[in-house]
């Protein structure tokens, strides 16, 4: 195979973006960094002049044999995945999208990963390098297009999940992986306690599981790998075949659990592996277990404090997906402890002295 560079939607507007940032920095104008604007619900609302990334799109460089792709941040995830699929490759972290236009830059900035996360790794685990627009409007390169690189601090991974508050992601290099040759999804009728026990037991074995969820009396599993092992594991686990589209619906929050009966706020609880059900007053039908139980979506009217205490007690944290304007928590992300917050503020002050990048998006104070 040779180098592949797609011809579609090739726009490099990095210079114009740098210019806008430079001006904003000089005039201390807050910027709201926008791709396809499909992730605005995730985080606090930002008041600012829009910095539009969506037009900065296209694949800069893709070499399937190197397992590396470099892409502009405004590229739709779907376009990137289509280009990878031509070479039978994929983004292993299964980035969720919340609209057809959802961009890869937004996926990295929000740091959200799909059902394969516990087995394959998170977004940041696949980020190899980036071009970042700094507060002075300079386009700088960190990391690179190689698998291993420990020169300098890992600025690229720091940008993943920082929601644009430390700089603007312009281009991103990812490690990509071959698609598995075989895949089979199944469901088993199991009560919650049995399902969690089974997941712990299966987790200790070298099985080709790449997704595990539980909801409403059913355990859902996805197997991926070579044909021989998938067949053998399928025979061993039994159950009923499941349409693989289930995982896409779960990834993009399009499963009926998310689209129906939305009178309560939606929360995401992130918990250590093998955490038992939390002692919270939430009916089982309002909880969706993903990531073998490490990620739990709950619909609840409980207050933020109660939820967060229970999660923190278990070693995790809670994020509110419902914007405050629609009845969600005013602070969607779990507040930081004072020492950790101090270093967050220090970093923000160093990399964005005038607070122009998505101010208040993560936390009100910065």
């Amino acid at each position: 195979m040779t180098d592949t560079t797609t011809q579609t939607a090739e726009h490099d507007i990095a210079d114009a973006l740098c210019e806008q940032v430079k001006k904003a920095h000089a005039k201390r104008t807050p910027l709201r960094i926008v791709g396809a604007d499909t992730r605005a619900f995730y985080g606090r609302p930002v008041e600012g002049e829009p910095l539009n990334i969506a037009e900065h799109s296209g694949i800069v460089h893709y070499d399937p044999v190197e397992l590396v792709v470099t892409v502009r941040a405004g590229t739709p995830i779907s376009a990137l995945e289509a280009a990878l699929a031509e070479h039978n490759q994929m983004l292993a972290f299964e980035p969720p999208r919340f609209g057809a236009a959802s961009t890869i830059g937004g996926a990295v900035a929000t740091g959200l990963s799909g059902p394969r996360r516990p087995w394959a790794g998170a977004v940041r685990d696949f980020v190899l390098g980036s071009h970042v627009i700094t507060q002075e409007g300079k386009l700088l390169r960190f990391g690179g297009e190689v698998m291993k690189n420990v020169a300098g601090y890992d600025m690229s991974r720091l940008m993943a999940g920082a929601q644009g508050t430390l700089g603007v992601l312009a281009d991103i290099s990812f490690k990509v992986l071959p698609k598995p040759t075989a895949s089979h999804s199944l469901k088993l009728s199991l009560p919650l306690s049995d399902a969690l026990k089974k997941l712990a037991e299966l987790g200790r074995q070298p099985l080709p599981i790449t997704a595990a969820a539980w909801h409403d009396g059913e355990l859902f599993l996805r197997l991926e790998g070579g044909k021989s092992s998938i067949n053998a594991t399928r025979d061993r686990l039994g159950g009923e075949a499941l349409d693989a589209d289930f995982w896409r619906e779960l990834r993009d929050l399009e499963h009926a659990f998310f689209t129906q009966n939305n009178d309560k706020a939606l929360w995401r609880l992130s918990l250590p592996p093998n955490t038992p059900p939390l002692a919270l007053d939430i009916p089982e039908s309002d909880i969706f277990y993903d990531w073998a139980g490490s990620q739990r979506f709950v619909k609840t009217s409980l207050d933020a404090e109660t939820l967060r205490q229970a999660c923190q007690h278990a070693g995790g944290h809670a994020t509110c997906y419902t914007p405050a304007a629609y009845g969600g928590a005013a602070d969607p992300f779990t507040p930081l402890n004072p020492v950790v917050e101090k270093y967050h503020r220090n970093l923000k002050a160093e990399l964005d002295a005038h607070g122009i990048f998505n101010p208040g998006r993560l936390y009100a104070a910065f």
């Binding site: 940041r124 291993k148 070579g226 950790v340």
Partner: protein, 499 residues
Amino acid sequence: MNIHYDERLDGELKSFEKADVLRDLQTSIPSLALLHREEDLRPFECDGLAAYRILPMLVALPETLDEVQTLLKRCNALGVPVVTRGAGTGLSGGALPIERGVLLVMSRFKQILSVDPDARMARVQPGVRNLAISEAAAPYGLYYAPDPSSQIACSIGGNVAENAGGVHCLKYGLTVHNVMRVDIVTIEGETMTLGSEALDAPGFDLLALMNGSEGMLGVVTEITVKLLPKPETAKVLMASFDDVEKAGRAVGEIIAAGIIPGGLEMMDKLAIKAAEDFVKAGYPVDAEAILLCELDGVEADVDDDCETVRAVLEKAGATDIQQARDEAERARFWAGRKNAFPAVGRMSPDYYCMDGTIPRRELPRVLKGIAALSEESGLKVANVFHAGDGNMHPLILFDANREGELELAEDVGGKILELCVAAGGSITGEHGVGREKINQMCSQFQADELTVFHALKAAFDPDRLLNPGKNIPTLARCAEFGAMHVHNNELPHPELPRF
């Protein structure tokens, strides 16, 4: 290069007297083991990069978190630099002491605090050896994946500091991919937890930033690592080639076939011969290159993949392909590779190990460049290569007792790294920058990028007391060494004095 801290190039230090610092620390932390006599300091004068030796002012061997906190608080108050050291196996001089600083040795933090098989994680102290974690997890059928060649001796705290890799990185990742949480102490003596036992944590990903930060941002005091179920089986194929380029292309073909091997290593003729003489691994000494390809996972899949890889290797022109028949033969095949460094050490009084990474497609060009440098300098170079992930370890053979040969080896090494940067790679894949590659950082990064690194550092350690003179060069140093990128024909920071 001049290994000593140079205030002109590395930044000014505060002035203080050794006796005053010693007295202050003895008074404020009476329980702390503190070494100060030359004969006691001597064993700590270098890490795994033994050509670089400097006696520290003092060595501290704390046993409790409290001691670490107070030590850092006092050093911060007195303006005394602190270099943190684990097992001292690092290969880039990251734990090289500073004459006017305290060497903080974490080797007494060696407890495995817990292994939780159902959550598949282990909580350990930083002085625990890498291999000891896998040994503690083995009864549960689990292991800790990153396996640097020094895993029998290196400590997990050092692994975090360097973001250590190993021969299984392509499939299982580096340290950063396998650490869930670290507890650190800041230079101000505060404790802070980064990451979480959950799969993510609120706020910035400071855990990712801490991995590979070479002790410049904080001192790691506890680590939670992810454990994986041991693969059901692992099989290894060894392919011989009469041409290095063919071997390099075969690597790409294996990946193109949709296979991610557990390990994919390449050795050139000189490395093969050295390894064979040393451990009798059964390597073909007449081959120009060999590839070792390990496939692991569920037995049935591994058998299928072995067939696919065999076909790919044949098509790529392998002159011979052997599959290890049993576990003993598999161990022997690997023993040659894992002992390649000491094996080369037997051929030459000294060797200098490089750690550049490149996109794999650039391998033939870079190997040619290395051969030319070898010929020009008269120093032999053996190549071992984590081929799957493009991480080269050229070993430059030299004799330090010959006038000027160390400097010549360093010069060749520096040029090899510049070849890697020019090929779109990096000066270090897994060994770190440390003191060793501080000048080459100037060829990999522009002044503006280094300035961002300094800003990150300032957020954690504004007075630059943690491991000064390592990892990130000052702009003054880059100006001095002239390797700094020149953009649009403008010299960056013309206001800086050039010495």
